[in-house]
């Protein structure tokens, strides 16, 4: 009996020692999970999730501080992919959040006073211009985050839905009859 206890104690000492050493030696500082979550988020940097950008939201998700259904631009599809990554059940978008069709901001050139406030608000530097100059939004770079709308003192910015055209059109998921067409 004493031998049993001694053997176990020795084993414990050894294993505990190795694990204790390894826990300090091989500590992983950065959480790669954040990167994976961030890669799924659409990078609109719109802040609708309540965090200042996609990366902070990703960090909050990885820490379990935020739910996965706070990102409207990602939509249901984004929630589903987050759920898959994290091994949890997908859920509908959170309250008050809804997925909108992809839009870009457009500045009304007749109203813009060149105040640069929207330039400072744009998280992806998609607005170009300088003080007292008309500002222009580069449509290709605009993520549709709407953050430039409220700072504008003259309300010259509005959102325009991006419509499908021949170049961006996609073949739809085939719909084909599984039911017999009734003869005559």
């Amino acid at each position: 009996m004493l031998t049993a206890i001694l053997v176990m104690a020795l084993g414990g000492l050894l294993l505990g020692g190795v694990l204790g050493w390894a826990s300090v030696r091989y500590r992983v500082e950065d959480d790669p999970l954040v990167e994976k979550i961030d890669a799924i988020l659409p990078q609109t940097q719109c802040g609708q999730c309540g965090f200042p950008g996609c990366k902070p939201y990703a960090e909050a998700i990885s820490k379990g501080e935020a739910d996965i259904n706070r990102c409207p631009p990602g939509g249901e599809d984004g929630v589903k992919r987050l759920a898959e990554l994290l091994g949890v059940d997908p859920k509908p978008l959170g309250e008050g959040l809804e997925h909108k069709p992809k839009s870009v901001a457009v500045i009304d050139e007749n109203l813009c006073i060149g105040c640069t406030l929207c330039i400072q608000a744009c998280p992806v530097d998609a607005i170009v211009g300088a003080a007292k100059q008309m500002h222009v939004i580069v449509a290709d770079q605009c993520t549709g985050c709407e953050l430039c709308l409220s700072p504008c003192p003259v309300e010259c910015i509005h959102m325009e839905v991006v419509h499908e055209d021949v170049a961006t059109w996609k073949w739809r998921y085939p719909v084909y009859t599984l039911h017999p067409t009734r003869p005559h």
């Binding site: 009996m1 176990m8 294993l15 190795v18 694990l19 204790g20 300090v24 030696r25």
Partner: protein, 207 residues
């Protein structure tokens, strides 16, 4: 470096503490149950053996001793025989018998034989027969194996130690004849073995 060492030592000691506590708990339980376990096992073994001998045919715990391997027992290694006693004299013996030709390999049996050469009972200890087909030899599934109770080589002549299909006296279930054939043969051989070694088996002198 210092941090590494400190972490190693503190974790090591913590695990030692838990190991010692756990082992102590186990050691205690082990000590407490040791006797009971031995007694239970003993009782279990005796109960199994007792199934192969009629009630009242013995009055003391059976005694195990080793018998050499014998083709009649179907064994290739020395096995056990258990001596039953009544009033201090050998009243019967339980043999470990193997039927080598089951449908799916060997069938291990316990064959209880009374001193007068009558069968006390037969029980299957281990087999690999097809479930639902050959496994009616288990007493829990079918009373088939009780057919042997009370039979002896004298009562049933050699020709009758076969299943009905082959002209013998033993029932079988349609579709599975190999298994009962194997058992009948093995039991008959065990009886022959008993006839040959009756004296030494019942003497139990090596006590």
């Amino acid at each position: 470096m210092k941090r590494l060492m400190r972490s190693a030592v503190s974790n090591g000691l913590a695990l030692v503490a838990f190991s010692v506590a756990g082992t102590a708990l186990l050691a205690g339980t082990y000590g407490l149950t040791l006797g009971t376990i031995a007694r239970s096992e003993q009782a279990k073994q005796q109960a199994l053996l007792a199934q192969t001998l009629p009630e009242g045919s013995f009055d003391a715990d059976l005694i195990a001793h080793t018998v050499a391997a014998d083709p009649l027992l179907g064994t290739k290694k020395p096995g056990q025989a258990y001596l039953a006693r009544k009033d201090g004299k050998g009243s019967g013996v339980v043999l470990e018998v193997t039927a080598p030709d089951g449908y799916a390999g060997e069938i291990k049996l316990l064959v209880g034989i009374l001193a007068d050469g009558r069968l006390g009972g037969v029980r299957v200890v281990k087999h690999k027969e097809t479930p639902g087909l050959g496994d009616y030899i288990e007493v829990e599934k079918n009373p088939w194996i009780r057919q042997f109770d009370g039979l002896s080589l004298n009562q049933a002549p050699a020709a009758q130690w076969r299943v009905r299909k082959d002209g013998g006296r033993f029932d079988y279930l349609a579709g599975a004849t190999i298994t009962p054939r194997a058992i009948v043969k093995a039991v008959a051989r065990a009886l022959q073995y008993f006839e040959r070694h009756k004296a030494e088996l019942l003497a139990g002198a090596k006590e």
